[in-house]
Amino acid sequence: MPFIPHTPADEQAMLEQVGVDSIAALFAEIPAELRMGDSPALTHGEAMSEMAMLRWMGERAEQDAGLICFAGAGCYDHHVPAAVWDIAGRGEFMTAYTPYQAEASQGTLQLVFEYQSMMCALTAMDASNASVYDGASGLAEAILMAVRKAARKSRSRRVLMAETLHPHYRDAARNIVTNQGVEIETLPMAEGRCDLQRLPGDAPLAAVVVQQPNFFGLLEDVDRLTDWAKGQGATVVGVVNPLTLSVLKPPGQWGESGADIACGDGQPFGAPMSSGGPSFGFICAKAALTRQLPGRIIGQTEDASGRVGYSLTLQAREQHIRRGKATSNICTNQGLLVTAAAVHMALMGAKGLAAAASASRANTLRLVERLTAVKGVRQLFPGPCFHECALALPRPAGEVLDALLDRGILGGVSLTKHFPELGNALLVCATEKRSDNEIDAYAKALNSVIAG
């Protein structure tokens, strides 16, 4: 019996102890008419051995494998130091539960405390939680924080969101927060960046949400946006790629007094692409918002003899204590990915992260240079991009991507679905992992696709 240790003798002895004569008898309280009957209506078949399962899944994994990845759009093919998952994959981290029993969970607790410290350093914020699901759902939580804050002042439930924000983030956040009557408005873009000419001026805003670098890989004028938003009494939410914060100004320092909340997806810190999950969402905030944070937070404390230790703190924000009055319903978070991220940051250090960010940008610049040398391909928007860039193609992006697949290349992400008005637009990215050869191969392939 896979994963069940009971021998027939165990089973017999245990049934005797319980005082019943069959396992079926243990289910006597279930009304008979509800029972599935003797043979469960499952059709998925005979048990596979581990070996057979690995073969079955291996065949499927193999089917999709081997593309050279030039897609980004919120999920990036960065190098992960080998030590990261050797550590995070240790049973002590991987198979522990949420650290409810602090004394038996100091490993996870101290690690998350260290993670919180690192994230605060990167974002220039005062507090970090222990993770939310991902960047998109995390943005929803950040908005709800702002709305709760506004409830005590302007009572506004209006949120202004940049059109240059990742469209999936916009969708997910909207799908979540509108259930609570939050209204989302869009700050339109001009040439791929927030149109500072079209800032609304009428009613109070609970929050303004800006992404840096934005969905197109372009840099927003976050200082001006922050200052303007603060002038409107809004909470400023910066959606950031944490890797870029190794070289870009941290949200806590945007404008005169900094954004109030920094959130985003931690995928660039140790999470393989893995079809987009698991990664983790992070939320960091200025001190005034600490008690509005959703989810777990770890604090440092002591035992009776003064030894330093760590435990879950401010639990009165959480569902298991406050139930309907909690700051969020989140319970299980993305702990193991935070473990990986902490080890990743410790191994990379500020220097390693800056090197990876810079190398990604250098590769993307080279890629753009090579691709725009192909006839009919040009950079879609003016201005410097970071490590993603939108291109205009002479043919529909979907067709081009399809043809590139035949050449073993995942050529980027088509912008057609979310931005049809941009024409044949493609978002490309080359991380530090892309070699010159791979970049050349892409350029060659694109050339032949477009010529052909």
Partner: protein, 484 residues
């Protein structure tokens, strides 16, 4: 233990991880957009980092190291083979936005999992995208909301839950814009049917409950409850956290539920990771089909394809940037494949046998069951109220002392309605000897409670730290490392 920050020296780093062009890569970026000082991250060597985190890990209890009978959490063995499967390069290297044509292997896996989950729940369709149980609850309640709205039924503003419900249930209802009304549970752990009847009405959007309930007993009146709620025009939400007790025995659909989530990190054995990640797929009956969250995988002659907003116009939409915790879904599928049809049934067989055996032995050892007239399901509750009264020791003291025996404490003080409560869930993957060891430890602690209660109150004694001061943690907030 020192923090990783304390180990650093200015300028130290793990040089093999620092590969990048020097300087000019940032050329062209506006000065104002750049960071002026490097972030204060750790500055350690590779060995220091590896050693630090290796040693930190040793301070954790975990399934791989300890018996972990944490009620409601289903801490069962996490097969390493499933971890291996999900870690295959073809899966780890797949970009979430890769075209369908280059994703048939992965999508085939998701489709297979959807089908398996449909079968074990009896639901008409499944969406795998929610990233944990609570997000599944959110999706479920949001669908209930969408359903009523789609019918123009706009007055329903209330979600009912048993008062023993898990905290995520009321919290979720509120996140979906509902108010919550709690319905009492009676002395046998069943919902008070009269109270329920009194509570339902035209304001009722739905009822959220789990079965077996959080009291560790099977809700025998579930059919009546469904009737009452349905008659009032509400829908029934099933919190799948306790599915381990009934896998292969009863399908939530057959109990009358309209929508549910599953906790794959419980029932389907994916590791809890010290807090996550999990996966909380939702299943729906016919009524909620039009509102299923996207993406979902469909199959036709040409292969697999994604269903999106275009295919399900009434969808509550996407809830995350991509398609949920794909890697966790793959682990759950691997587990299901290794169990096979018959293995599903055996999960509940032995989960319940283990709980029943442990309950019987603890009772024989003098402990008080909270629901002595009820059969244990996959979990059961002890109340240590008598011990508390007699010796001035709390369930918390018992819990902390258990840690000294190398056993993780059961869930304490949940559900809240049972005083000094221990919610105990051994799971099917623990062997009898381990259960016997638990009984021995509990017995020894109960004896110690008489002899030397102070030793319980100051426990644990054998762990890296003694009992931690939670009050201080919340009062003198230290949420990040500070130099010096």
């Amino acid at each position: 233990m020192s923090t990783i920050f304390d180990l650093g020296q200015p300028g130290r780093n793990a040089a093999a991880q620092c590969a990048g062009p020097d300087g000019e890569a940032l050329a062209g970026l506006p000065e104002a957009a750049l960071r002026t000082a490097a972030p204060a991250l750790p500055e350690v060597s590779e060995l220091q980092a590896v050693r630090h985190y290796t040693n930190l890990s040793a301070k954790n209890f975990s399934i791989d190291g300890q018996f972990y009978p944490l009620g409601s959490c289903t801490m069962k063995y996490n097969p390493r083979g499933a971890h291996r499967a999900a870690s295959l390069p073809g899966f780890l290297g797949r970009h979430p936005l890769a075209p369908e044509r280059a994703s048939q292997g992965f999508m085939g896996c998701l489709f297979a999992l959807q089908e398996i989950l449909k079968e074990v729940t009896g639901m008409a369709a499944v969406s795998l995208t929610p990233m944990a149980g609570a997000q599944g609850e959110f999706a479920g309640v949001a669908m209930i909301r969408a359903y009523h709205r789609a019918r123009g039924d706009l007055e329903r503003h209330e979600i009912l839950t048993p008062d023993a419900a898990h905290g995520t249930n009321p919290a979720t209802a509120v996140m979906c814009g509902y108010t919550v009304r709690e319905v009492a549970v009676d002395g046998n752990g069943d919902v008070d049917l009269d109270a329920l009847k009194a509570a339902v009405g035209p304001q009722t959007a739905g009822l959220m409950m789990t079965n077996p309930s959080t009291c560790g007993v099977f809700e025998r009146q579930v059919v009546q409850i469904a009737q009452v709620v349905h008659d009032a025009g509400g829908l029934l939400y099933y919190d799948g956290a306790n599915l381990n007790a009934i896998l292969g025995k009863v399908r939530p659909a057959d109990m009358g539920f309209d929508v549910l989530h599953l906790n794959l990190h419980k029932t389907f054995a994916t590791p809890h990771g010290g807090g996550g990640p999990g996966a909380g797929p939702v299943g729906v009956g016919e009524r909620l089909l039009p509102h299923l969250p996207v993406p979902v995988v469909a199959r036709n002659e040409d292969g697999y394809r994604w269903l999106t907003e275009d295919d399900i116009p009434g969808t509550i939409g996407r809830l995350s940037a991509f398609a949920g915790n794909a890697g966790i879904l793959l682990r759950a599928l691997a587990y299901a494949l290794m169990l096979g049809r018959a293995g599903m049934d055996r999960v509940s067989d032995f989960a319940v046998l283990n709980a029943a055996y442990l309950a019987t032995r603890l009772k024989a050892a003098g402990f008080e069951l909270a629901y002595p007239n009820r059969a244990a399901t996959h979990e059961f509750i002890l109340t240590l109220a008598a011990n508390a009264k007699a010796h001035g020791v709390s369930a918390m003291d018992f819990a902390k002392r258990l840690l000294d025996f190398g056993i993780h404490a059961p869930t304490t003080y949940f559900p809240l309605l049972v005083p000094e409560c221990f919610l105990i869930e051994p799971t099917e993957t623990e062997c009898r000897e381990e259960l016997d060891r638990f009984v021995d430890a509990m017995t020894a602690i109960a004896e110690e409670a008489e002899r030397d209660p102070e030793n319980l109150r100051t426990a644990p004694h054998n762990l890296p730290v003694g009992r931690l001061d939670d009050v201080k943690a919340a009062r003198d907030l230290k949420l990040r490392w500070m130099p010096g």
